[in-house]
C-alpha cells in the first residue's frame, strides 16, 4: 500500500465516523481531534474502522502517534506489510 492510498484509507475512516465534518480538506499536520471535533468515542470508532479496513491493531498506548494525518500515515506504514 502506498502512502497515498494509506492516506486515502485514513480519510475514508475519518469520514465514516464523522460524516458531518470535512475530512477531505484536512491538512497533513492538523490535529485530527481539533480539526474534525472528534471526541474519545469518535477516535475509538476511527481506530475500529482502521482495524476493520486495514487489519491493523492499534493499542491505546499508540494513540498519540495518530494525532495528525501525517503521523498516522507514518505509524500505519510501519504496521502494515511493506509494498512489493
Amino acid at each position: 500500500m502506498t502512502r497515498q492510498t494509506l492516506r486515502e484509507a485514513i480519510v475514508a475512516a475519518l469520514k465514516s465516523v464523522a460524516p458531518e465534518a470535512d475530512a477531505s480538506s484536512i491538512d497533513d499536520d492538523e490535529r485530527l481531534r481539533d480539526a474534525l471535533d472528534l471526541d474519545s468515542m469518535d477516535f475509538l470508532n476511527f481506530v475500529i474502522a482502521l482495524h476493520r479496513d486495514l487489519h491493523v491493531d492499534i493499542p491505546e498506548i499508540d494513540y498519540p502517534k495518530m494525532q495528525t494525518l501525517a503521523s498516522a500515515v507514518d505509524y500505519l506504514e510501519g504496521k502494515l506489510p511493506s509494498s512489493p
Binding site: 460524516p19 474519545s40 491493531d57 492499534i58
Partner: protein
C-alpha cells in the same frame, strides 16, 4: 378511551411535528413498540407507545405540528372496545414541564383535545412514506432548501443523510442565487430549545455548586490494563466508568435522582443517566441510558456507543429523551477544560460534571507527586438537597472511582 398523545420528550419540548406513522389502522401494537417519528426542536425522535392494543384511527396527519398532549391516534383492545388507558406512559415519570409559566412559543397543555397547530414550516412536498434517517441539521437544512429527504442518498452512519448530502442534493437548485443564509439559520431551533430550557432552569431552580478534585490514577491505570486484554471493538472508555460510578453514587444519595414536579421532589427508584452529547453541527442532546446502576461497564460502553451514533444520526427514541433522572456532562475530551459547572435540566434535580483528567501535583501524606486528577462537579437543586448531601454524593463518587475493579 385509549389515546396515544404527543409525548413530552424533555422540558424543552412544547410541540412536535409528526413526520411519519409506523402504524396503520388495524395494526396491533405492543408496549415499547416504535409507532411514529416526531421532529422536535432537537431533532428526529422515534416515539414508542406504552400500552398494548389495536390502532383504531390515526388522528394527526404526517407533516402536522401539534402541542404536547395532543391526541395523535386512538386504540382499542381489538374486541370492539377501546383499550384501557396505560397505567403509566413510561417506565418512570416523564419529566413533563412543571406547571409554572414558561417562555414557550407554543402552549404545552398537559390535557387532551389540544388544538392542532399547523406547522409554520411545511415539510417537503412528499412527506416520507418510508423510514428516512437524517441528522437534525440535515433535516433543518432540507427544509430550508426544499430538498426531499426521501429521494436523497445518505452517506452517514447507517446510511443516514448528512448535512453535506442535503447540500449536495440541493446544489443545482441553489447555484443560481448567490447568497443563501446558511450559517445563521443552522441549528437555530435547537439553540432556541436549549435557551428556553436553560433559562427556565436558572429562573426556577436554586442551584448550588460543589466540586471535588479526585486522584483517578488508579482508575485510569486499571482501565488501561483492562483494555489491553480486550479486542479493539470491546475497549471501554473512561466515560463508562464515570457513568457507572455516578449511578452507584446516586443510589447512596437519592436526593440527586428524580424530578421536582408539582412543588415537591419525586425520587426515582431507577437510575437513568442522561448523557450530554454535543452535535458537531451545533447544539446538544442529553438522552438517557437506562438502569446504568445495574449495567456492566461493557454494557454501558455498548449503550453509549449506540446512543452517540443515533444522536448524531437523528434517531433517538422517545423513552431516551423523556426518562433521564439526572444528567452527566463530560468535557474530558476538551483540552485544558478541568471543570464544568452545569445547568440542571428541569425537572431533574442534579447535574454531574467531569473535566479532563490531567497530570497535576498531588500531595499524599508528606509526599508530593504527580497524579492524574479529575475535577468532579455537582450542580444540585437546593429545594431538594443541601450542600452537606451534595458533599456526601461527591465523596461517594470519589470512593467508587478509587475502586474501579468493583464498578
Amino acid at each position: 378511551m385509549a389515546d396515544f398523545r404527543m409525548p413530552s420528550l424533555g422540558a424543552d419540548m412544547d410541540a412536535g411535528t409528526l413526520v411519519e406513522w409506523k402504524i396503520a389502522p388495524g395494526d396491533k401494537v405492543a408496549r415499547g413498540s416504535i409507532v411514529a417519528l416526531v421532529e422536535t426542536q432537537k431533532g428526529l425522535v422515534e416515539v414508542e407507545i406504552w400500552q398494548d392494543g389495536v390502532v383504531e384511527s390515526l388522528v394527526v396527519k404526517p407533516g402536522t405540528k401539534v402541542p404536547v398532549g395532543t391526541v395523535l391516534a386512538t386504540l382499542s383492545d381489538g374486541a370492539g372496545a377501546q383499550a384501557a388507558p396505560a397505567p403509566t406512559p413510561a417506565p418512570t415519570p416523564a419529566p413533563t414541564p412543571a406547571p409554572t409559566p414558561t417562555p414557550a412559543p407554543v402552549a404545552a397543555p398537559q390535557v387532551a383535545a389540544a388544538p392542532v397547530v399547523p406547522s409554520p414550516v411545511a415539510l417537503p412536498p412528499s412527506a416520507p412514506d418510508s423510514r428516512v434517517r437524517a441528522s437534525p441539521a440535515a433535516r433543518q437544512r432540507a427544509r430550508e432548501l426544499g430538498v426531499d429527504l426521501a429521494s436523497t442518498k445518505g452517506t452517514g452512519p447507517h446510511a443516514a443523510i448528512t448535512l453535506a448530502d442535503v447540500e449536495n442534493a440541493a446544489r443545482p437548485a441553489v447555484a443560481a442565487p448567490a447568497e443563501v443564509p446558511v450559517e445563521p439559520m443552522r441549528a437555530t431551533s435547537m439553540r432556541q430549545a436549549i435557551a428556553a430550557t436553560m433559562a427556565r432552569s436558572k429562573r426556577e431552580i436554586p442551584h448550588y455548586y460543589l466540586w471535588l478534585d479526585c486522584d483517578v490514577t488508579p482508575a485510569v491505570t486499571w482501565l488501561e490494563n483492562d483494555n489491553r486484554s480486550r479486542t479493539v471493538t470491546e475497549r471501554v472508555l473512561f466515560a463508562a466508568l464515570l457513568l457507572k460510578a455516578t449511578a452507584l453514587a446516586v443510589r447512596e444519595v437519592p436526593e440527586m435522582n428524580g424530578f421536582f414536579t408539582g412543588g415537591e421532589f419525586r425520587p426515582s427508584s431507577a437510575v437513568h443517566v442522561g448523557v450530554a452529547i454535543s452535535l458537531r453541527q451545533g447544539g446538544l442532546v442529553a438522552p438517557a441510558i437506562h438502569d446504568v446502576d445495574s449495567l456492566s461497564l461493557v454494557a454501558i460502553m455498548a449503550r453509549l456507543r449506540d446512543l452517540v451514533g443515533r444522536a448524531r444520526a437523528g434517531t433517538l427514541r422517545s423513552s431516551e429523551m423523556s426518562d433521564p433522572t439526572l444528567t452527566v456532562t463530560n468535557l474530558g475530551d476538551q483540552q485544558g477544560i478541568t471543570s464544568v459547572f452545569g445547568v440542571i435540566y428541569p425537572p431533574q434535580v442534579a447535574l454531574v460534571g467531569f473535566g479532563a483528567p490531567t497530570s497535576r501535583p498531588w500531595a499524599q501524606g508528606a509526599m508530593l507527586g504527580v497524579r492524574t486528577v479529575l475535577t468532579m462537579t455537582l450542580a444540585a437543586d437546593h429545594r431538594v438537597s443541601d450542600g452537606h448531601r451534595g458533599a456526601v454524593f461527591l465523596g461517594a463518587l470519589a470512593r467508587l472511582l478509587g475502586e474501579p475493579e468493583k464498578l
